[in-house]
Amino acid sequence: MKAFLFHLRSSGQRRVIPPLTVLGVAVLFLRNRYWIGSWPETGAAAQVTAFFLSAITAGTSAWASGATRRHKLDEQLSGGAINPVRAEAFRVSSSIVLLLSPYLICQAIAFAFTLPEFPPGVTLWLGYVVMGLVVLLLSCAWGWLLGRYLSPIFAAMCAFLSWTIFIATVGVNLGLVTVSGEVWLTPNTLGLGLRLLVALLLLSVLTWALSSANRPLSAAVAVIVAAAGMGLTVMGTHGVVVRSRPAKLLCDSGAINLCLWPEHKKYLAAVRATNERVAELPNSFKLPSTMYEYGIADNISVDGDDVVVVEDPNPSAQIPTFELPEGSRWGLAMDISRAIISENLMQCHIANLPENDLRAFAVEAFLEVTLAGGGKPDYSSSESEQMAEAWKEGSVAASNSGPGRFDWAIRTLAKYKSDYCAG
């Protein structure tokens, strides 16, 4: 223990902790704050810091690993009385402890900010913590390996670049990291626990291999087998899985019965306000009876990093869904307006609706602006010029106030239905 504490105190990597912590906190807070108050989003937001910290950790780890070669101490260490594996283990473990500290500090800060919502859903946060830990451990291992064999001048930069490219391309697709913590997804506890164990095993094998100078072939084989095991574990497990439907939904029983995930309790007031605007719509607009937040209806699955919607053989029985991207009222309004238009065009055959007639889309835009409470949307889209014009027409009509403000929308939709829909 004394030797381990000595390594911690004397390691140059201590100086890295403050700037890495500042970077992590900046990544956490200098963005939208919608993660505060929702455990899965909190965990995922703090896990994002692991993405950037792991890249610099790989470089720092490579720099630390090459220290003995830099200072020409290989010969002294190999002739020393201490078991070389033990000496290497002290160096590796002290490096890991120091380089994990900024990430754990960021997670602790994120936890503190979401504490008022404790404990329901806190296991979702914990899963994302483990996800970030796995990434950091693997980056340490990669950097340590490169630092041992590459030139001390280029090793750190090569480790930083190679790790960043790996995690950004392969890592995201394999579910090693996630860029957002959707509420309908949950960290796969078993899979992440297994990944953590195998990552620790990989580090142990690497520590033994790098200090076994007289058994290079066995060491190389051991590292390759351990790395292959890690690869198979990552490919064979999912980082996140789809959550099962909660036993109790959080619903606002207004004009439409809008049901949310319980973890989105903080958005209930915004949902209620939108529902009150729905209630002000004239009776000529048919409303869906119920809408679920995306994911509640059990019709999605995860394949790698992609979320796949399972086709329902009976589409008319499907309950329409809505999303709340970062609590956006515009996202909610868009989905509700789309559901209202679908409900009103239920008798129409899709094949009879011409693509170049965008009147229904214009009415949908009218409803969206009305239900969002006016203003400018908080999203950007790359739609066609015709669609942009139709959207503008609907939004301008929605800006009218007074008793006849819905007349344009009612008239346009009724004419559209009479042109293309039977009955």
Partner: protein, 215 residues
């Protein structure tokens, strides 16, 4: 010339050349691959082409290669060593950039090549700043930190970047060119401030201030 040759040999210039060619090959092969990275402006992340990361590496290499096992001794070197070092740095930076841009131009297109060419002075400047403060071997630190900042906060949507995003804005953008050249200037100033200049400069300022109060 002989001094320069010895200087370059001591720094294993061929390794730098090999790494530049390797990065150029990697850029030509994978450069246009789109990676999904976290972004402050979008919950679903932003799409970043891999060439943006690899260009940072090429800009850092000439400065990294300034390191030598006698770097502490070299800090006390005289004018001849300094001028040789500066000549080596300029030649290696220009040669690395030229070789890299030539190799990648046919693979990733001329407009992207020009964007990378515009960003290289900025990366070199950041590497010089980092190398002067932390040592030439750690010249990658400031470019790495800057890359994290640019990736996370530099984007505002698909192909929309803030004015200081010098590594991704269109090649005709003047603001990005100014930022890149400003970073090179900062790096050049940091390189110019040798340890003895650093110790003398504040003293001169203090002496000047003191002389104002003298009779």
């Amino acid at each position: 010339m002989r001094t320069l040759t010895l200087f370059a040999k001591a720094r294993h210039w061929w390794i730098t050349l090999a790494v530049v060619i390797g990065l150029a090959g990697l850029t030509a092969w994978l450069g246009t691959f789109q990676a999904t990275l976290p972004s402050a402006s979008s919950q679903s992340g932003s799409v970043v082409p891999v060439w943006r990361l690899l260009a940072m590496g090429v800009g850092t290499l000439p400065v990294l290669s300034l390191h030598s096992p006698l770097d502490t001794l070299e800090m006390t070197g005289g004018e001849r060593l300094r001028s040789t070092q500066t000549t080596y740095l300029i030649i290696s930076a220009i040669a690395s950039s030229a070789i890299y841009l030539t190799i990648i131009s046919s693979a990733i297109g001329s407009s992207t090549t020009m964007v990378i060419g515009r960003s290289l002075p900025g990366w070199i400047g950041l590497a010089l700043l980092s190398g002067r403060v932390l040592g030439w071997r750690l010249a990658w630190v400031a470019p790495a930190a800057a890359a994290c900042v640019l990736i996370y906060w530099g984007g505002r949507g698909p192909d929309i970047y803030v004015w200081w995003e010098f590594s991704a804005r269109p090649y005709v953008d003047l603001a990005a060119l100014n930022v890149s050249l400003a970073l090179l200037l900062v790096g050049a100033v940091a390189y110019w401030i040798t340890p003895w200049r650093l110790s003398i400069l504040p003293m001169r300022s203090v002496l000047k201030l003191l002389s104002l109060g003298k009779r």
